[in-house]
């Protein structure tokens, strides 16, 4: 059998390196940026991987060049940066990244909402905490000036740049884990209405909500400096903006409230006319299914056999703020379900579009 020679790899030019790096910087892609310097990177002349292979097409910029790409290319093409990059690509061992494109990458990543990418780049630059502080200060300033939406945005960026130093085995960017934290919020079954999370005193609910949504008690604690009304407005804005489809959820929530209202009315009638012992027998099957259908509406799924905690996880993952307006309850058939619930004396539910003016019930007991 004859041995065929491996085709010779074309030498990688500085222009190609600059284009690839500028693309990673413009798209805020920290992973691609690091890959450029990896031992098996197609940009290394001593690597067998070739940039011409279609599998590396994602590293190259498209035909349309954005202004961010042009700006990045300007930074990367400067002799100081490009010479350093080329020298690192020739060197054996771990590369030393140039700081200028890395800083630009982090800024672009924040603009594109790629917070974990941004936080890793800022962490490498050792300015992550100060950048976080900068956004928090801007958030405080905006809130003081009455611009709550800008303030919340700044706070959300700061939270996005958070790092989890307790992550195993190495510190990692902190990411929201609402499906887990929502379960902790509803960990104890409310034995009486006052114990239900949405029915607790509003100040307590607002504080809990801010800690839950920010995922960082220290950052949420900064907001204690503001009046309760402002903090309530901040929470409402955070709930609305943390979720791109909040209005769809709000419509489903209001529908669920109406279902629970109909169920409660029927139960009340039975209790008044016959007595509490007759509820199970006197309820018609259709009314008895209403709370389960309400739970299905809240989770956004069609499965009626889900447990309350499955629904809560679904709800928290897709609509994080929704977990603050539900409670666990036992309904006919001794089944535990998740039901909509909010305080009628608090404007919070109305501020986030959950309050249903047609329904009588504000709280599920």
């Amino acid at each position: 059998m004859s041995r065929t020679d491996t085709p010779q790899k074309k030498p990688v030019t500085p222009e190609q390196v600059a284009e690839v790096m500028a693309h990673a910087v413009a798209t805020g892609d920290f992973v691609n940026f690091r890959f450029i310097f990896a031992p098996f990177s197609p940009l290394r002349n001593d690597s067998t991987e070739s940039l011409d292979h279609p599998k590396y097409a994602y590293l190259l910029p498209g035909s349309e060049k954005s202004s961010a790409f042009e700006q990045a290319l300007g930074v990367v093409s400067s002799p100081e940066v490009l010479n350093h990059v080329m020298a690192q690509l020739e060197k054996k061992g771990p590369a030393q990244y140039p700081w200028q494109p890395l800083l630009l990458l982090a800024d672009n990543a924040v603009r594109l909402g790629k917070f974990t990418m941004a936080s890793q780049a800022y962490e490498l630059l050792r300015i992550r905490r100060r950048m976080q502080e900068l956004y928090l200060e801007m958030g405080d300033e905006a809130i003081r000036q009455g611009n709550v939406s800008r303030g919340v945005l700044a706070y959300r960026v700061a939270c996005g740049l958070d790092y989890d130093y307790a992550a195993f085995p190495e510190p990692l960017p902190a990411v929201p884990n609402y499906q887990h934290t929502a379960l902790i919020l509803h960990g104890d079954f409310p034995e009486n209405p006052e114990q239900a999370l949405p029915l607790r005193p509003e100040t307590e609910l607002v504080r809990t909500g801010l800690v839950y949504l920010s995922g960082n008690a220290e950052i949420a604690g900064r907001l204690d400096a503001f009046d309760h009304e402002i903090r309530r407005a901040v929470l409402a804005e955070w709930i609305r903006t943390a979720d791109g489809t909040w209005s769809d959820f709000a419509a489903r929530y209001r529908e669920a409230i109406r279902m629970v209202d109909a169920y409660n009315q029927r139960v009340r009638e039975i209790v008044e006319n016959v007595g509490p012992h007759a509820v199970e027998m006197a309820l018609d099957p259709e009314t008895a299914r209403l709370p389960i259908q309400a739970q299905v509406l809240l989770s956004g799924r069609t499965d009626e056999h889900q447990e309350w905690w499955q629904c809560l996880k679904e709800l928290a993952a897709s609509h994080p703020g929704g977990a603050l307006f539900v409670t666990r309850a036992v309904v006919a058939g001794n089944r535990e379900v998740l039901l909509p619930c909010y305080r009628s004396d608090s404007p919070l539910a109305e501020m986030v579009g959950l309050a249903d003016t047609k329904a009588e019930t504000r709280a599920v007991v």
Binding site: L112, R126, M131, L153
Partner: protein, 208 residues
């Protein structure tokens, strides 16, 4: 940089208990008991939130570790020697910053020693101290505290590592020249861009 700044991160248990350099184990015991008593009184008078719980748990663990290490002559000598060694390694690395090959070698040696120092004295021995009968008696530390503290201590160790890391020489990237006025402007402009994007319909908002 002052000597104090250079020492930041290498927790000094002798200073934590406020002991003189020539202290005796009996001094450590007396001071520890008083400080622990004061701390427990303070905790009993404070409304405990999740944030404060973690803070106090760490404070108790630090005091327990200080006493547990300093009361035993052998353990104490090893701790002081390890602390001196890791600080000396940092200085040595700094002194050879201009020689890339040697610098890299020294950095790796220092990093290894630092990780060992922090994991031993800021985590392992802190947990071990919580199982010591005398510490348990004074601090009421139990298995539930240990379960909760393991995460708090891991966080504490990594935070100390980051604090030390932040003041060290840059090796994984070129030393950045950060203009904080420019940073402020960039952050402001970024918020403008994000504000404009969040005003757009939800489908066009992208990751935000």
């Amino acid at each position: 940089m002052s000597e104090t700044n250079r020492e930041t991160g290498y927790v000094d248990y002798v200073a934590l208990l406020g002991l003189p350099p020539d202290f005796k184990p009996g001094d450590a015991r007396r001071v520890y008991r008083k400080m622990m008593k004061d701390l427990l009184v303070e905790i009993s008078r404070t409304e405990i939130t999740e944030e404060r719980k973690n803070h106090y748990l760490l404070e108790i663990a630090r005091l327990n570790a200080a006493f547990y290490i300093l009361r035993d002559r052998e353990r104490c000598e090893k701790y002081l020697a390890d602390r001196q060694e890791v600080m000396a390694l940092e200085e040595e690395w700094r002194a050879h910053a201009d020689a890339p090959q040697q610098s890299d070698l020294l950095r790796r040696k220092f990093d290894q020693a630092l990780r060992h120092f922090l994991s031993t004295y800021m985590e392992e021995l802190m947990l071990e101290a919580g199982r010591d009968p005398e510490c348990v008696e004074c601090s009421n530390w139990d298995a539930a505290h240990e379960r909760h503290a393991s995460r708090v201590l891991r966080h504490y160790r990594q935070r100390l590592y980051q604090i030390i890391h932040e003041r060290l020489l840059y090796y994984d990237i070129t030393a950045p020249r950060i203009d904080w006025e420019e940073r402020k402007e960039t952050a402001r402009a970024t918020l403008d861009v994000l504000s404009a994007a969040s005003g757009a319909p939800a489908s066009e908002r992208g990751a935000l």
